[in-house]
Symmetry: C2
Subunit: 184 residues, 2 copies
């Protein structure tokens, strides 16, 4: 098993990123934290950049799994509220924190983080469009709606992460969903 050790290091790196962020990552502190040496990280991954982008892929996969679990809910409302609950649950906060941190970095440095960002945006859209498929509306309108819903949830999560005010942001989300329902 050549790739086994690599897999372990990768998982440990993801956990480290969730705790410490991606902006100031450097090999030696990371290696010390996960019980290895910078030398070996380079050996297993080839370079720092490969390590980071590999770790972000794993991160994305984990978030997508959380998305998929919400699919069991009956209505779009319940799916969104379910995801909101998951995202604002304290133990899951690091996922969203890292998500928006990398989002900010990617806007500036698409070469390094672009692939992750495109994948992340795509996964949001896919979830939403699957939910909206069932309704009778033009593709154009469905696109508008998906864009609006994703943006609003993103914006509210950003607010929540910055202020920590769960109650206010949750109220704003339910108000948004109520407004959407009237619209139909």
């Amino acid at each position: 098993m050549a790739a086994k050790r690599r897999e372990q290091l990768l998982d440990a790196t993801v956990d480290y990123l969730l705790e410490n962020g991606a902006a100031g990552l450097s090999l030696r502190p990371l290696a010390a934290a996960i019980g290895t040496k910078a030398r070996l990280l380079i050996y297993h991954f080839g370079s720092r950049d490969v390590l980071v982008s590999s770790a972000l892929s794993v991160l994305l996969r984990r978030i997508q799994l959380a998305f998929l679990e919400m699919h069991s809910h009956a209505t779009l409302d319940r799916t969104l509220i379910g995801f909101w609950r998951w995202a604002t649950d304290k133990p899951n906060e690091p996922y969203l924190r890292l998500f928006f941190e990398v989002h900010g970095l990617a806007i500036r440095d698409p070469e390094r983080y672009g692939q992750y960002l495109r994948g992340a945006i795509e996964s949001w859209k896919e979830l939403l469009s699957q939910r909206l498929d069932k309704r009778r509306m033009t593709a154009r309108r469905r696109e508008e709606l998906a864009t609006l819903i994703i943006a609003t949830v993103d914006g509210l999560l950003l607010d929540y992460l910055a202020t920590g005010e769960k109650e206010r942001t949750t109220r704003a989300l339910t108000m948004f969903l109520r407004t959407l329902k009237k619209e139909e």
Copy 2:
């Protein structure tokens, strides 16, 4: 005039940040770009962190000025659309890019960027609440509405910056405003 040179360096630093971002800022390249030495940046500002947070304050002031210019518009709709036009205008893009980049960094590192983030969020809320004051609604409802509007515009701007798709995101914004109007 002791503070004159400092002011010049500060403005030049803001422009440099708008072009090059804040995540990987380091003194020597910055100094070279704006025609000075790292030595003098430390001399005028005391430390790197003071320089960065001073520059972000100037940035915030500039964005607030753009906000205030939109106040002349008659309705809330027109104010928001006016700001959206300003923010998605190519030459102004760096402001929002930097805004969200720092937002991402601040979530991770509140000590360094927290002050800027709180000020930025406050200025958004102030603009909105001034606009909503005139309407008859409970303070609680006004808070929900302001939170929702800010979050949606933020989320759409984030989408626009990542994808560059101005037409789709603008359509989503107008759909949002139309929905809000029905709600009243």
